[in-house]
Symmetry: C2
Subunit: 205 residues, 2 copies
DNA sequence: AATAGTTATTGACATATATCAATAATTGTA
DNA sequence: TACAATTATTGATATATGTCAATAACTATT
């Protein structure tokens, strides 16, 4: 996990600002603020960008690459979300209130991220009230995503969950290891393998 | 499902406005707007307040009572959330984009609701930019709730899900039929019964 | 190109939970 | 109070998925 050289940090935040601007026009002041508070981070595949010990909440904008969130349940990892480019990811402070259920973040492709602290975001809301429009709209989208995750994981059969995933996140197939997808879908890798084998069989016959 | 007499509608919206004000101070203009757009609805236990055919999106503030959301999967109902007093509930438009997965809302206790259309809320955001602060904060909370639902339903064993539920939503035990809780927890009523019986057994021995 | 490490596949068997069914307890209502 | 309807409990059995294990297919590194 390395910070980029100063030269590149100068231009930092561009992608995040563009993301904001695509939601709602933003003033030059907000853009300057975001630029000032953003830091680029280049992270290698496999690295953890937050451990359960990490207290300060940070948000990450994925410029390039892929990140997953997971929790541990009796030593077993359970992937709770997987996100690629143009998404903001971060730990939900609240979930962590009880010790059992801290969330971990792992980069699962070599990635370029923009980091910003939760504190900076809050400061932005306070100083630039229009920023709340952006925040509100982003949260509306993320709420739907979370709801989709909740829905997906409630489908009673493993095969149905996989089919739903195929429908909603086809771009992730082949891009990331199946083991993460299996974990996200609440099944063992072996089960996912069998489901895929079965589906392939019916396709070719 | 009955509208209240005009006399009572006069005072309508009070509880919703109080809810907003508890999050962030609101101006008299916003309060007046909300009051004007709100309608009280008294709904009997068991009634559906939205069917999959219903196109106009509405939001409901629960003044008193309890509401659940569910989807149908091959004729089986899957409860995706359960909410009581002081919550805003509504259908997520997005989930409904594919035909399979429309969301239904059912009142599961005699309830008093405040209805407001999604359109009115959007109008509020547009006319009173400060309202976006409230919207943003409410969504932050609902995002965490949705995330908790996603987390809960990913716990691999039925017993763990029930224990998590006991920890997070103890007030619902005894208040609503177990069948809804079982459905919310992704298990059959019989399984929930057995888990409870087993846990009781260990408690008294 | 060869080797080591990771990821995916397949098989045999174990187990948690579903299903079906019968009964009991609770709740609503005439 | 009694009756009907709903909800909860318990048992016997079926089934989807997990577990463990062996091997195969990739991927990265020297």
């Amino acid at each position: 996990m390395t910070y980029l050289p100063n030269q590149l940090q100068e231009a930092c935040g561009f992608e995040l600002i563009a993301c904001f601007a695509s939601i709602h026009p933003i003033s030059e002041e907000i853009a300057a603020f975001v630029r000032q508070k953003s830091i680029y981070l280049s992270v290698k595949k496999g690295k953890f960008i937050r451990s359960s010990l990490d207290k300060e909440e940070r948000l990450y904008f994925i410029v390039k690459g892929c990140v997953r969130g997971f929790i541990k349940d009796e030593g077993q990892e359970i992937t709770t979300w997987i996100n690629g480019e143009n998404n903001i990811v971060g730990s939900i402070q609240n979930l962590g209130l009880d010790n059992d259920t801290e969330e971990y973040l792992q980069v699962i492709e070599d990635s370029l991220l923009i980091v910003i602290t939760r504190q900076s975001i809050d400061e932005m809301y306070a100083r630039f009230p229009e920023a709340n429009i952006i925040g509100r709209k982003i949260l509306e989208r993320y709420y739907r995503d979370a709801d989709e995750r909740a829905f997906l994981s409630r489908l009673p059969s493993a095969e149905k969950r996989y089919k739903r995933f195929l429908l909603k996140r086809p771009e992730l197939i082949g891009r990331i290891p199946m083991k993460y997808i299996a974990s996200y879908l609440g099944m063992k890798l072996e089960t996912l393998c069998r489901i895929r084998a079965k589906m392939l069989q019916f396709q070719t016959k």
